[in-house]
Every structure is written in C-alpha cells, then in structure tokens.
Amino acid sequence: MKKTYFLFLSLLTLGFFISCDKIEKDNFTDPDASFPWLGKKVLIEDFTGVKCPNCPDASNELKAIEELYPDKVIGIALHAGFFAKPGGVFETDFRTEGGEELAEFFSPESFPIGMVNRQGYPDNVLLNYTDWASNVNEQLLQIPTIELSISESDNRITIEARRLSDGNNNLKLVVCITEDKIIDKQYYYSDLIEDYEHNHVLRKIVNGTWGTNVDLSTSSKPFPFDYTLESDWVRSNCNVIAFVYDSSNKEILQVEKVHLTE
C-alpha cells in the first residue's frame, strides 16, 4: 500500500516539476514579430505626471511600441492627477482640462497606467504599461470598421471618415493636439532630470473631451474643425490626432495622426 502512495506522490511531483519553463539568455527575445495587418491603428493613452517616479518607464515603453509597429500605434501622454500637479521645483503645468476630465472619468489610482483603445471599459480599461504591447498586438490584428484621414491647412483640420462595414452603433469623433520634444523637468525614480524629453503631451482637445457625434455611412464624409496653437507650443513638434469611438462602450475603433509642418 505504501508503495502505491509513494508512486502516486512521485508521479505528481514529477508532473509539477515539468510545469516550469526556463528561458536561456540567447533566447530571451523572439525576433519574428511580424503579422498580417489589415489597417486598424491603435491609440495608447498614458496617464502620467512630472512627479511620478516610475512614469518614464511607461513613456519609454510607449516609444518602443511605436517603433515596433511604425505608423500603426499612436500615443497620447495625459498629464493628470496628483503626480502632474506643479509644486516645488516643478513649475510647468502640463495638465489640460481634457486630461483631467479623462482622469476623473477613468479614475486611475496608481501611476503609470494607460488605456489601449480604451478597450475593456469599465472594469478592465486601465492597464499596466507592461501589458500595453500584448494588448496592442491583439488590437492590430482586428479587422478595421472605420477609415479615417486627416488633412490640415490654414489652422483648419478636416477629418474624412467612413464606415468600412454597415453598423448602427453611435459614434463620436475626437480631435486633439499633442506636442513632442518638450524639454522640462521629470522625476525618474530618485533622480530629478532637468532636461527630460516629454513626448506625446496632450495640449488640447479641439472639440471637447468626449468629442462630436458623427453619423457615418460607408461613403466618406468631411468634418472640419478650426484650431489655434498657443504661443509657447512649437508647431513643428505638434501633431493632430483624431479618433472615432463607440459611445456605448467607449472603445476606440480607429485613430489617425498627422504631424504639423511649418
């Protein structure tokens, strides 16, 4: 009888020991990250702050994801909440009304945290930055349902949008302006970096935090918006980002970006 127990025990233990994967150093990364892309782009919104010690880790991750999927991933840094409040050595206020409203609505409790196409609302919309890439990967494989394009001239942005398949969900369009390459202070763990390069910084949501209702069909429709840049924004570092989301579940269905030129 005893023998049976020991046999049972050793088999079980063996089974458990097998359930362990050890990755060797020359095999840490998987060089083949290519996949079939059908045209859906992905927006990462990064809740951040100049006083948040580990937020640069998330910013670096965002940049790396953009580089991994060139022209398919778009980032917005939302400086909001406690860590973004100026005070002490931090004089510049990167907060915006729109960013604060989004933070109020999605209620991030720990920073850094972000949203990938605002998917998973309400319970699972906030994702740790370490989960962004895998979520982006999953979203990029989806079939796009909306087509978007942006044109800009003389302080007027025109968005052309259409549905790629029939649908009757309520859609909203948001247009915003971000700025890259802003040199200012940032905490990085215990270091205060005086000349940190802030990218993707949300400057303004042109048509209100929750955007404009748009009634789209399969034929393209233009939506014009006038905008102005503040004097301290560097035009050549600014971008116009437009996205369409489903107002019932907040999920972003398509996003597009153009870089402003002089």
Binding site: S19, K22, F28, G88, T130, S190
Partner: protein, 552 residues
C-alpha cells in the same frame, strides 16, 4: 411521464437533505458593517465624496454537519470606503465553497485560503482592513497517507476584485513530522518537522518581443526543530525566471528567499533572533500585477508591529523585490516581590530591527546585464528601516496599571512610500498609558504620546512633531466612550505651508452579546496603515463613522 416523475423526485433531494441537515447540522455566521460620511475640510485636505457616505460590509455564513462544511460570503461596497481600491465597488458573493472529509481525504471545491510553510512561495489570505483578498477558486485536496505525513495540493485561479486573475496556479506541499512518523523518535527530546512545497503558475505569453516563460515555478524547503526551551525555524525558497516587463525591459533573474528564526523561552524570559534575505521574490498570479493585486506569496515582516497610534506612524512595509533584515527581541518579567518587580511583577521588552537594501539592488538578468548581489552586506547599503524600542508594563496597585514605550525609528520614505525626498526620517516616540479602575466594571484609560522628528539638515522632518492624548472610559460589559486628540504644529512641504491642526475624534460603543455598535465623529489623519508588513494608504477625512459587528 416516468421521466417527469424522476426529475421531480431528484429535484426534491436537495430540500429533503436540507431539512435533515437543518435538524442536526449547525449554521454559523458573522457580519461586519463599516460606514463613513465624508465632509470637505480644507484644513486637513479632506475632500467630500459625491455619495456623501461610503460603506464596506460583509457577512460569512457557514453550514457544518459532521464531515461536511459549506459556506458563502456576501460582500457589499456601496461605494467602497476611501483608501480602498474602487474596483471593489458593487455587491456579490466572491466566496463560496463546499468541503468534506472521507477517511482522511479532505476535499474542497470552490474558494479556499491556504498557506505553505511560512508563505514564502504561497499564501492565499484575506485582510479586510487592508483591502486584500487573494482567495483561490478551484480544487484543493489534503491527505495524510502515513502517520506524521500530510500532503496538500491544489489547482486554482485567484480573485481579482470581482473577477479572477488570468493565471492558473498549481501547488503541492508535503510536511513530515519525524517524531510522529518514526516510532524510534517518538520519545526523543528533539522534535523536528520537515516540509517542502512546489508552486507553478501558468499564464500565456502574448509579449510580441520577448519569450516569456508560460510556466513559472517556485519551490521551498523548511524545517522546525524544537528541543526543550529552544526552537529553530527556517525556510528557503527559490523562484525560477519570472520576467514581468513589457517590450523595453524584462528581468529573467531567478528569485530566492531565506528566513531563519531562533527562539528561547522559559518562565519570565523570551529571546527571539530573526534574519531574512529576500531577492526578487515578488510572485503573483499575473505577470506585472502591481499594488496588492494577485499576490501569491507573503514575506513575513521582520520588524515589530506596533499598536499605539504614534508608534505605528512610520510602519515598515516589506519589500519583496529585495531586502536584508535582522530582528532581535528580549522579553523579561521581573518577578513579583523582587526589587524591580514590586508587588505584581514588571514586564520589559527590548526590540531592535534593521532592514537594508541588497548590495546594488536585487538580482538582474537581462540582455545587457547579469548581476547577483552579495549574500550578506550591511555596511554602506541603503537603509530601509531601523527600529529600536523598549516596552515597559507594570501593575502598580490593584487599581492602577502603567505602560510606557520608547521608540527610535529611522524610516526611508522614498523606498517605503515611493517618494522622492533623498533623506530618511528619524523619529523618536514616547508613550505613556495609565489604566485606572474606578470601581468594579468602571475603568478609565489615558494615553499620552509624543512623536518628535529630527530636524537637522541630515534628515527629513516630514510633518514635524505630533502629540496625541486619549481618554477612554469603559463601563463593562456594555459601554465605552473615548476622546482623542492628535495635534500637529504645522509644517512646510514643497513650498506649501500647512497650518497647525487638531485631529479631534470622539467615539462611543455599545455591545451586547455578540452585537457591537460603535459610532465616531472627527478628523482622520492621512497616513499609512499596515498589517504584517503589508500597507494601505489612508487619506485624510472628516465625518461620522459607524461600525457594527455581529455573529451567531
């Protein structure tokens, strides 16, 4: 028709069984309700909440008959109290289980809490006051095939607020009591228990750049040896590569933890010496989970858990990613009628603990760097926490008891609370408590506490000094009334000046049988609340509190 009868007959079985059980089995339950109102109070940065009041409540109900037990817990957070994660909001039954035991085989289906050894690789537990509930959901078996040998095993997922985490956890634990298992050791003066455990987490790898292990395993071995007045307890744990980063950084280094504890105790004297070293042991049921979410293991705290309010002002939170800690404590009772013992004896406890970083941080194994810290390194390492304290208790007369405490604490706020100050806090705390029995059943208790921070350039003065007074009147067994004032003289932080403020609080309680009601009103100071080295931030607030507990 026959089929219908059959269905009807079967559907009656649960009711029949219920009726029978109801006659013989027993049902137990408990209930806990905490509500608070929140008013705006700019003097302490307290904000009002849109709901005006918030509530946390739960009730456990457990049915037991013979070898069978089943239970549920209903939880309600409408909406959750401030300082807890808002993902708790809502109602539900996150805990239900059935358990029975047949000939030594114990089977649990549904939810269960479990711990292997000291918890270094696995501890599933709940601590409502911290907002922690990492209960498992699955199947657990316990069996004792031989005298002295007990086995436990499970396969389960873990609770994440109202959902389950993505990882599937498998665990097995064996414990052998040598004195029970081997007849020749039965009468030995030395008792020894050996144990070993293994845990593995499965989570799919969907990282587009890195190859992450889908099965992350850990194991631990432990022993407890007692002989007479001496006891020695130790455990070593190892965790295989558990990278949890995104696409910019992943650390493939394994983790390990070692803890030892030596104690000596005899009448009137107790000595404990402890040490632990933890490297890369943040083990969770989901890669990259943060905060108090989905923790699989628990590193026991290696500093004294203080109870007095200002003694617990700067509590240490265990750093599972890496720390080296030591603790020693001596408890001594001066005998009755001795010079220092007086008529009733005097108890003295001296405790010292010190925790520092591992040399140049925890182990790291990335594409660019491979690093393993020195095993023991104390000098010149970043200090996380140091606490020297003396505790003194004495009954002076039949009616008067005195307690006094002195603490000298160094606290690294940057590491413990994730701040960026660059200096440690050095605090000294003095506490005096007096207990006076007015007449049978009537007791008055007073506390005076003072916390002074070192204000020299070398240290960070944080919020400056605090002073606290408490008067409590107990009319047992039903009533108590308490009045507390915590006073801060004001301070300047990040260029902002905070005025002096009194945190006044009054409360009263009534209990009858197992029902207990407690009503309070006043200001709550912003702070950190810890249990066993795990902490929660408490925001400042102003309002009424109502707590009700009951059980049957």
């Amino acid at each position: 028709m026959r089929l219908l009868n059959l269905i009807l007959a079967f559907s009656c079985i649960p009711f029949l069984t219920w009726a029978q059980d109801n006659q013989n089995g027993n049902i137990q339950g408990d209930f806990n309700f905490s509500a608070q109102s929140y008013s705006e109070d700019p003097s302490i940065n307290a904000e009002k909440v849109n709901e005006s009041m918030l509530m946390n409540a739960y009730s456990n109900i457990r049915f037991n008959k013979g070898n069978f037990t089943a239970g549920v817990r209903f939880e309600s957070y409408l909406n959750v109290l401030q300082g807890f994660d808002s993902r708790f909001n809502g109602n539900g039954i996150p805990y239900r289980f059935a358990q029975y035991n047949v000939k030594g085989l114990d089977i649990t289906v549904g939810n269960f809490y479990e711990q292997f050894g000291n918890g270094l690789i696995f501890r599933s537990y709940e601590e409502k006051t911290l907002g922690i509930d990492n209960v498992m959901d699955g199947v657990r078996l316990k069996y004792s095939p031989l005298k002295g040998l007990s086995l436990k095993g499970f396969v389960a997922t873990q609770r994440l607020f109202w959902e389950q985490g993505p990882g599937i956890i498998r665990g097995i634990d064996a414990e052998l009591n040598l004195n029970e298992a081997f007849a020749e050791l039965e009468k030995s003066k030395t008792n020894a228990i050996l144990g070993g455990s293994f845990v593995s987490r499965f989570e799919e790898d969907d990282n587009p750049v890195f190859n992450l292990p889908e099965n992350v395993a850990s194991y631990a071995v432990r022993s407890t040896i007692n002989r007479g007045k001496v006891s020695f307890n130790s455990e070593y744990a190892y965790k295989y590569n558990d990278p949890s980063g995104g696409i910019t950084y992943n650390n493939f280094a394994p983790g390990n933890a070692l803890m030892t504890n030596l104690s000596y105790s005899e009448r009137g004297l107790g000595i404990i010496l402890e040490a632990h070293r933890v490297d890369n042991m943040d083990y969770r049921s989901k890669r990259g989970a943060t905060g108090k979410e989905l923790t699989l293991n628990y590193i026991p705290a290696i500093s004294k858990q203080h109870v007095y309010t200002l003694a617990a002002f700067y509590p240490f939170a265990t750093q599972p990613t890496g720390e080296l800690g030591f603790q020693g404590e001596i408890n001594y009772t001066f005998k009755k009628k001795s010079k220092l013992g007086g008529k009733y004896g005097t108890q003295v406890a001296i405790n010292y603990s010190r925790i520092n970083a591992l040399h140049a941080g925890p182990s790291e194994l990335t594409i660019n760097r491979e690093y393993t810290p020195m095993f023991i390194s104390i000098d010149n390492e970043e200090l996380f926490f140091r606490d020297f304290n003396i505790d003194f208790k004495k009954k002076i007369t039949k009616k008067v008891k005195v307690m006094a405490n002195y603490l000298d604490i160094i606290y690294n706020k940057d590491v413990i609370q994730g701040k960026n100050i660059g200096k440690n806090i050095h605090a000294r705390v003095g506490i005096l408590e007096l207990n006076y029995k007015l007449k049978p059943k009537h007791t008055v208790r007073g506390e005076f506490q003072y916390l002074a921070v070192d204000k020299s350039e070398e240290n960070y003065s944080d919020q400056g000094d605090w002073v606290m007074g408490l008067v409590e009147y107990t009319f047992s067994p039903h009533w108590f009334f308490a009045f507390v004032d915590q006073y801060n003289g004001g301070y300047t932080s990040e260029g902002k000046t905070y005025e002096a403020v009194h945190y006044l609080n009054i409360s009263c309680g009534y209990s009858k049988g197992t029902n207990r009601f407690e009503l309070g009103y006043g200001k709550v100071r912003e702070g950190v609340f810890c249990v066993g080295g795990v902490c929660r931030n408490v925001p400042s607030s102003n309002g009424f509190t109502l707590n009700i507990t009951s059980s049957f």
